[in-house]
């Protein structure tokens, strides 16, 4: 047993965050066939806005109830990211809807660089530490440590993902999203305003991303203008692993990737006789990406893509 169960818990926490971000990638891909590389930066903006709001409230209203403070910060962050993402789609991607696929992809990378630099100008180059407004209990569970914050991350992510899956699979709006993802032409014929559905997809993805950004910042007690890059790439990997375009796949891929990374990092030292340490954690994600792309490019649950072509 030793550290195994501990790494499983860490992996689930990490994986929950990957899954939330991966859903943003996969939803947009499902509807537009676009890999929205700016999504990682939206997640970063979510963390930064939440942090800035908490810092502001802490400075001006030090007596405020910390729960209220976090709620205000989270709401501000989620709404900011939704608005940001709405305008990214509206101004950068929509004019390119009929352009060759490479054009919006390059635009996405451009937006990503733009957002990173804007964040650096606004919030600075240094790492921002998250103020300690809560103290979390650490519990022992089957010989492993888990903090209340980690429990909260897993539970909140699970609730949000369940809600999303329920909306997509059982609501009228979700039906319209699936119809649009299958054929914009036919959905339009049936009276669906395609542009609204696409905007909605970006906005929901951004909301989940903002929550993920806040959770990551809270978990590591730190945020940085470049944090979205690696997180975005990992979540994208998770989406590909699960089968991009497939919501259940994004959840599964995220959790799996978190587990692989965490368990890999936990044992890499032992396996290589101490030659490689746990700071090689990032290697696992990209190893997984390469293996999936070579042996199963459609991902675990991604039969749908071959059908799409």
């Amino acid at each position: 047993m030793d550290i195994f169960f501990q790494q499983v818990i860490n992996g689930l926490v990490l994986g929950s965050v990957y899954a939330l971000v991966a859903l943003g990638y996969t939803m947009v891909y499902g509807i537009l066939g676009l890999i929205n590389f700016a999504h990682g930066e939206v997640v970063m903006v979510g963390a930064m806005v939440a942090l800035a709001t908490v810092a502001y409230l802490f400075g001006y209203f030090p007596e405020m109830n910390p729960i209220v403070m976090v709620l205000i910060a989270a709401t501000t962050s989620v709404i900011s990211c939704m608005v940001l993402s709405y305008f990214i789609e509206r101004l950068a991607y929509r004019p390119l809807r009929k352009a060759p696929r490479l054009a919006p992809l390059i635009t996405a990378i451009g937006i990503s660089i733009l957002l990173q630099n804007l964040a650096m100008i606004i919030w600075g180059r240094q790492y921002k530490t998250v103020p300690k407004i809560f103290s979390f209990e650490t519990r022992e569970f089957l010989g492993a440590n888990i903090t209340d914050l980690q429990i909260f991350i897993i539970v909140l992510s699970a609730i949000l993902m369940t809600l999303l899956l329920l909306i997509v699979n059982y609501s009228k709006l979700g039906r319209a999203m699936r119809a649009t993802s299958e054929s914009q032409r036919i959905a339009g014929l049936l009276g669906v305003n395609i542009n609204k559905i696409i905007s909605f997809t970006f906005v929901i993805g951004a909301g989940l991303g903002a929550v993920a950004g806040i959770l990551v910042a809270a978990n590591y007690s730190v945020a940085h203008y470049s944090m979205g890059f690696m997180l975005g790439l990992k979540a994208f990997t998770a989406a590909v692993l699960g089968g991009i375009g497939n919501l259940g796949g994004a959840v599964l891929g995220g959790l799996l990737l978190g587990l692989i990374e965490s368990i890999g990092a936990g044992y890499i030292g032992d396996i290589t006789g101490g030659f490689l340490g746990s700071h090689y954690q990032d290697v696992f994600a990209f190893l997984v990406l390469i293996i999936v792309l070579v042996f199963r490019p459609t991902g675990i649950m991604g039969e749908r893509i071959s059908e799409r072509a």
Binding site: K172, A179, S183, I186, A187, L190, G191
Partner: protein, 238 residues
């Protein structure tokens, strides 16, 4: 008073003009057919009216100029197109496809009533309501496409080649349903390569040749016209 009025409609794909100077009108409650050979521009005309493809000229419906409306707004005004190839959403179930047809309607009760009515009209669809659209046979898909269009409770039903690719018995069944819909008061504009079938099930008809309308008239009269008999009904002049 015409319900649908199309004035000098033109459709082009690059340099190729698929339809030009198309002017036609349909009165409320009528069933009008558009016949012509393969590639005459019939589908282009129908798709342009539905707003699926860009066009020049004017499309007026129920007193409103819809020329600048995108496809979903035309649907909101009461147009429903059953496209060529049926346009079934293959990953949605039969039930979901039908419910998507009623996307613009808000009255849950009357939607439920109409859903039952469609299932009565096509018992096969009821049997397969939980299956995804992609698993249906061609005939079942055509039933689903028509059922889905009816779920919109359209003012004008546009049908593109409903007989295409179907076995004779299924064609019979589909046209039986079309006549039933027509007699229930829905205005229908029908594009069909099978000219005899189209003329037999319509009040009036237009004939299209290489992008232009060349004849129009009462369907019964066109059935008797020697030109139509020779070109579209496969009968030699005797």
């Amino acid at each position: 008073m015409s319900y649908l009025s199309v004035e000098s409609l033109g459709v082009s794909y690059g340099a190729i003009k698929a339809a030009r100077g198309v002017s036609l009108s349909i009165k409320e409650g009528e069933t009008v057919a558009l016949i012509g050979s393969n590639g005459a521009g019939k589908s282009s005309t129908l798709n342009a009216i539905a707003g699926l493809i860009g066009h020049t000229g004017k499309v007026g419906f129920d007193g409103i100029d819809m020329s600048s409306f995108p496809v979903h707004k035309r649907a909101a005004k009461g147009l429903a197109l059953v496209p060529e190839g049926r346009g079934i959403l293959g990953r949605l179930t039969v039930d979901e496809n039908l419910r998507m047809g009623a996307y613009l309607r808000v009255d849950r009760k009357s939607i439920a009533v109409d859903l039952l009515r469609i299932y009565e009209l096509f018992p096969r669809l009821r049997e397969r309501r939980g299956q995804t659209g992609g698993t249906l046979s061609g005939g079942e898909q055509q039933m689903l496409a028509i059922g889905r269009a009816l779920m919109a409770s359209p003012k004008l039903l546009l049908l593109d080649e409903p007989s295409m690719g179907l076995a004779p018995l299924m064609v019979e069944k589909i046209f039986e349903v079309i006549r039933e819909i027509s007699s229930s008061g829905v205005t229908i504009f029908l594009v069909e390569q099978n000219a005899r079938l189209a003329l037999e099930s319509s009040n009036r008809a237009y004939v299209m040749e290489s992008g232009e309308l060349t004849m129009e008239g009462d369907s019964q009269e066109l059935l008797r016209s020697s030109k139509v008999r020779e070109s579209y009904l496969g009968e030699l002049n005797s």
